[in-house]
């Protein structure tokens, strides 16, 4: 039976050692190459066309996510599957999402055990996706949380930089004329910004605006 050929990409030789031993101890997979940075990884991928690449996200030269994209493109151009598994110390929704979007088939946190890692390699080489269990226990609640409350839902987040600045000047009690002079923009522009701010924040009075600015700590009560 042909073994799955694995390329290890990590800038820490000791980590590669550990991974190599774990992989080579398996009957169905073998480490065919090792790289310590992104450029070297790409060269070896083109040369050896491995079945899987264990790719550290934090490489000294390039972002691992970028290398994943390039490997994916190469894999499509030669019409041969090269499965990328991202290795990362960070558990973050946007990183996992981006890794998958860039063509990776797996995302594993670096604290994963070696049995888990070989399991992941087997999994992706059989054309499936693999995510660390931590991804589902941490990312999904995080995903739900960030889509229910916090950041995304707050109307203040909709303000542009300029609007933030004007929001504050209004809250500090400056007139449109003063704001226009201070920012060297026209009175009309200030009026337009002011209307946009009120609309974005869904506010209908100066008092509401002040109350919100105090709540945010932008101005003092």
């Amino acid at each position: 039976m042909k073994k799955f050929e694995v390329l290890l990409v990590d800038d820490h030789p000791l980590v590669r050692d550990g991974l190599r031993d774990a992989i080579n101890a398996q009957h169905d997979m073998v480490v065919v190459g090792e790289a310590e940075d992104g450029a070297q990884a790409l060269r070896i991928v083109q040369q050896l066309k491995p079945s899987a690449v264990m790719l550290d996200i934090g490489l000294p030269d390039f972002n691992g996510l970028e290398i994943a994209t390039q490997i994916h493109q190469f894999s499509e151009s030669i019409k041969q599957e090269i499965h990328v598994i991202m290795l990362s110390v960070f558990l973050k929704e946007s990183l996992v999402f981006q890794a998958l979007q860039n063509g990776a088939h797996g995302y594993i946190v670096k604290s994963a055990s070696s049995p888990e890692i070989v399991h992941a390699i087997r999994h992706v080489c059989n054309g499936r996706y693999y995510l660390s269990p931590e991804v589902s226990t941490n990312i999904i609640p995080e995903y739900l949380k960030s889509h229910n409350s916090g950041q995304t839902n707050n109307p203040y987040n909709k303000l542009t930089k300029r609007e933030q600045q004007i929001f504050r000047l209004i809250a500090e009690g400056h007139s449109n004329k003063e704001i226009a002079d201070f920012l060297s923009i026209s009175y009309k522009t200030v009026e337009r910004h002011r209307a946009n701010i009120m609309e974005k924040l869904d506010m209908h009075s100066y008092r509401e605006l002040i109350k919100f600015a105090i709540e945010l700590g932008i101005v003092e009560a």
């Binding site: 973050k92 049995p115 916090g150 707050n154 987040n157 930089k161 300029r162 500090e172």
Partner: protein, 349 residues
């Protein structure tokens, strides 16, 4: 009278009630490069505008400030001015201190005293420079130790763990023979995992490794969870207007430190139950607010303020920011720090 004034180490102008120079002393001649015979009897306003203001850094401000005292000769004025080393003058810092003359021969006039405060100003500059350097050094050193821990020790621990796991896997193939060794290994693997977590936590407290790649939002969420789980505090964190926007690296570190130092302070002294952390991007500044419901303290009391907060204050001032600590005994504490995102201040109109 002139002889007596000449004994003084400070420079003196005595002005009569029409602000003509009545007397000057020799210290003043030296400080200003003026000769007594060209000065006494002349209109001080003209002297200021024509001859004196040019010797100072920011001479225009000096002129305005001094002339204002003649327009309204009722108050005490005090400020520091900087004599530039031009036309054979010695560079020095002088403290201007002036007040109206209430009685005697020059009643209705004004007396101006210039004290040489060069030593003090230079010492202050030196202290300021040293404290900035020290802080940068500390920050650099923290970063260095953190990355050594994370990249060096942390990765080695990881490698050892892999290696032990590999041995464990191979022992599994002979379950009967190595039962005890397997159990021991399992235990060792757990220890090494704990060790890895500890190293990572020490390193993250020094300088969170996620701050660079992931930014403030993630790092502060991590910080919040860290303190909530370690100390059983109810911590609420909310950010406004930041989104995925990244700030200059040193500013991100500074903002992180404000939250970290405030939380450390709360843990150590506040006996608080609830803490609210807020980060608001209010262009062109960023505002960090930390509110707790603890025992509070008198923020004017330097001892009560503690080293941590005093250092934090200094750091913020160096970044051209400002900080306000509001606290009352038994009523909790609010720390509000505001930092400019670029160098330009958010000036009041």
């Amino acid at each position: 009278m002139e002889n007596i004034l000449d004994i003084l180490p400070v420079g003196v102008f005595v002005l009569d009630n029409s602000f003509h120079v009545a007397e000057i002393n020799s210290a003043l001649e030296t400080f200003f490069g003026l000769a007594r015979e060209d000065t006494v009897g002349r209109d001080k306003r003209k002297l200021v505008a024509e001859r004196i203001c040019h010797i100072f850094e920011n001479g225009e401000a000096f002129r305005k400030r001094v002339l204002a005292t003649y327009d309204d000769n009722t108050y005490i004025e005090r400020f520091i001015c900087h004599v530039l080393p031009i036309n054979d003058l010695q560079e020095r810092w002088l403290e201007h201190s002036s007040q109206p003359i209430a009685r005697g021969a020059y009643q209705g006039g004004r007396i101006e005293v210039y004290t040489d405060v060069t030593d003090r100003v230079l010492a202050e500059q030196e202290i300021h420079w040293l404290s900035t350097q020290t802080m940068q050094l500390v920050e650099k050193e923290k970063s260095r130790i953190a990355s050594n821990l994370h990249d060096g020790l942390g990765q080695t621990i990881l490698a050892i763990k892999f290696s032990l796991e590999n041995i464990h896997e191979s022992l599994k193939k002979q379950p009967k023979t190595f039962e005890r060794q397997q159990a021991d290994l399992k235990k060792t693997i757990t220890w090494i995992e704990n060790m890895g977590r500890e190293v990572s936590s020490i390193s993250s407290n020094l300088m969170p490794s996620m701050l660079g790649p992931l930014g403030l939002e993630e790092t502060l969420t991590w910080l919040k969870e860290q303190y909530a789980s370690l100390y059983g505090l109810d911590i609420h964190y909310q950010s406004y207007g930041l989104g995925d926007r990244r700030l200059p690296a040193d500013l991100e570190v500074a903002v992180f430190r404000v939250f970290q130092e405030s939380l450390n302070n709360i843990i150590k002294h506040a006996s608080a139950k609830h803490v609210e952390l807020k980060l608001v991007y209010s262009h062109p500044t960023i505002i960090a607010t930390i509110t707790d419901d603890g025992i509070g303290f008198n923020p004017d009391d330097k001892v009560a303020l503690g080293t941590g907060l005093r250092i934090m204050k200094q750091r913020i001032l160096e970044l051209n920011g400002n900080i306000k600590i509001t606290s009352q005994i038994q009523r909790g504490t609010t720390i509000r720090a505001e930092l400019p995102i670029q160098d330009n201040h958010h000036e009041k109109i």
